[in-house]
Subunit: 412 residues, 2 copies
């Protein structure tokens, strides 16, 4: 099956990631462009005038719209049960996280809801979220465990992700984040909790059932220390799970330096990153995954994106979609927040949510770029160029979504 | 025609505006509620168990959703031609407004596009914007002139608003903002420009053709001075146009004090308001219209909303939708920005975008409230309560829109 997309107003030729921050500012664009897709992959793209029409093909008219790679949300907690709007309101009223936790709020609420939910319930709750993400142009989503905080409940979350893969055209990637926080039952003995979740039988099962590709840890004063985090990541690495970190979010305890030391594929958050952390990540080739919707949702300072871009780190952007600190499931809105609050340009955020987001989840060879041979995950926007796309902040602009060359949103 | 909305999960009983800031925090809600609408007005509401079923009626099942008054966007520049995404990108790259203006950007671009557009073109450009606003739950919109900057072009803008009234179920309110800035042709003689736009023939025509109900002026160091602004507003008042001001946006030159002195129905922006301005507005009963999407879009500090709320000013929120400083047409997103960036609660922003927005455009006796006798402009949301509505930031939640008792968005 050959598909020809013609009448493209602007084709943004995003190259394969990772792309260093200084190179994210400029990307080639082709006006009056066309793309040919065969068997789910891009086989040709260029100026329409250079096109040799395929013999038989299904033609999609982009009607002058902009075409970009499908968006990739490389850091989410999309599998969750229960909502926490009461806590959202209390925070706006000026209550601290400690006060909210004392009054019964915080992650504990999500953990209790998760433990009492069946895998079927989780799937039912998550499906409409993924459907809306897809409609917003997101064709690949990473999802973390981390609200179960028992071996069984963590695996249940990852099994929900596995089963969702079969149900939706959206591509899913699982991350084992059992070290999200120490559960109540182990409050004074975090090492005992780590013994459980790093047990050989557990990690072997994660590997054998392909429940996750990455292992993540919340490395923070209120969560796991540098040494505990190192233990988690080094142990998981031996089972083929590549390291990721929640790093430098609230306090600076050296998490981004650890990211470099363990060769993390990404370090995420980075609101308080310092020059040492930037240097360590640069040496290791880690992707800096920024989460502007989280800072926005909490009303706190954004990560210093421009410093990381200037240091040439490959920067990615994700929603951090979760019921506590970022109940924002829209990646396009998150990119708008990155533009206006982090002073990133539309081109930079586009690269951040495609090529570099792909690199943050080891998918750079299949998605996130407009290159011959790449999977044809493509969006047709109803705007003539990608600057307009970000400028019209908050307006849904996705007219058509192709996943592996198949139309999954919109009509040709 | 009698309509019964039943199975309402939460009915937010917003009282008639204006509502002082300290009273905006708490609003009555009724769970398991119902509303009866007759001839486009609310005739009964309360707990479903107290309902006496009307003999014949059309039943709408709210399916446990939250019901709130239709939203009111009381400060927009929705009639415009051309876009300015290039300027958006330059600003993100660190260029100043002065540099952008030198390179041919700024309001001049919108003025030139406006002058070369016909009234028909303006209508064509504006209709889809209004349609999307309505789908987002906005049932009443104020629209300002201000991109024509000649008598003919200013009147053309207001005529477009008049003609749009006939085309859309959305209710429109026109404001004469010829004093938006001094046009190029009058760069060193702003008084001569004011002579033109305040001419008796012009203002008489605005009154007779009912082109506007309000007169607005951009009172700012770079636009019109206090004395020029006073002249504009006092003159227009004699033609029945009630005063509004763009006040205290960039610098503090006393615009909010002037708002109080001229008895402005509202003063808008107020990013740099001081205690004197707050006191003057309180004495005059002016509504403080805050525009969080504008500060967000520009990436600058927000107006001190909590200070105004604590001083008991009636606070309203609007999008400021315009192609230069706030290309955000979504009022729900704007309310989410107000929550997270101004620390306003979901209840406060709801009152700000209904009862108090109505008061800012003199519509408090017909819209913006759940009261017997009020126009049945109602939204059914697909969330169980209004806290959840704001918490799920950026997700479109409007399932059904009623304007004057008629379904204009969604299906019963």
């Amino acid at each position: 099956m050959t598909i020809l997309i013609q009448n493209i107003g602007e084709l943004v030729v995003v190259p394969r990631g990772p792309i260093g921050g200084r190179s994210m500012h400029t990307v080639n664009t082709i006006t009056k462009a066309a793309i040919v897709v065969q068997d789910g992959r891009i086989t040709w793209f260029g100026q329409a005038c250079d096109l040799q029409y395929p013999d038989e093909c299904h033609i999609i008219d982009a009607r002058g719209g902009c075409v970009i790679p499908g968006l990739i949300d490389c850091h989410t907690h999309s599998v969750f049960a229960g909502t926490r709007e009461g806590e959202f309101v209390k925070r706006l009223e000026g209550k601290s996280y400690a006060q909210i936790a004392e009054e019964g709020g915080g992650i504990r609420v999500s953990v209790e809801a998760m433990r009492s939910a069946s895998c079927e319930t989780l799937i039912e709750l998550t499906l409409p979220r993924l459907r809306r993400m897809l409609q917003g142009g997101v064709t690949t989503v990473e999802i973390k465990s981390g609200y179960g905080l028992t071996v069984d409940d963590e695996l249940k979350m990852l099994q929900a992700v596995s089963q969702l893969k079969a149900l939706k055209p959206i591509e899913l990637v699982g991350t084992y984040l059992a070290a999200h926080t120490t559960p109540r039952e182990f409050v004074d003995q975090p090492e005992a909790y780590l013994d459980l979740i790093l047990d050989d039988a557990v990690l072997s099962r994660v590997r054998e059932e392909k429940l996750a590709e990455f292992c993540d840890v919340f490395c923070e004063r209120t969560a796991f220390s540098i040494e505990q985090s190192r233990r988690v990541l080094e142990t998981a690495k031996r089972y083929g799970l590549r390291p990721k970190l929640h790093a430098d979010q609230i306090t600076q305890i050296g998490a981004s330096v650890l990211a470099g030391e363990v060769g993390a594929i990404s370090a995420d958050h980075l609101e308080t990153i310092h020059d040492e952390g930037i240097a360590a990540m640069a040496r290791a080739g880690s992707v800096a995954v920024l989460l502007p919707a989280c800072s926005f949702f909490l009303g706190v300072d954004q990560a210093p994106a421009r410093r990381m871009l200037e240091a040439d780190l490959p920067v990615a952007i994700a929603t951090d979609f979760n019921p506590g600190s970022s109940m924002i499931e829209s990646l396009p809105l998150t990119l708008g927040i990155a533009c206006t609050q982090m002073k990133m340009t539309p081109t930079e955020v586009l690269v951040a949510a495609t090529a570099n987001a792909a690199a943050a989840i080891d998918r750079q060879d299949s998605v996130g770029a407009i290159e011959v041979g790449m999977q044809a995950d493509l969006l047709i926007l109803d705007v003539p160029n990608h600057h307009r796309w970000m400028y019209e902040l908050g307006r849904p602009s996705v007219r058509l979504v192709l996943k592996k060359g198949k139309i999954v949103v919109g009509e040709a």
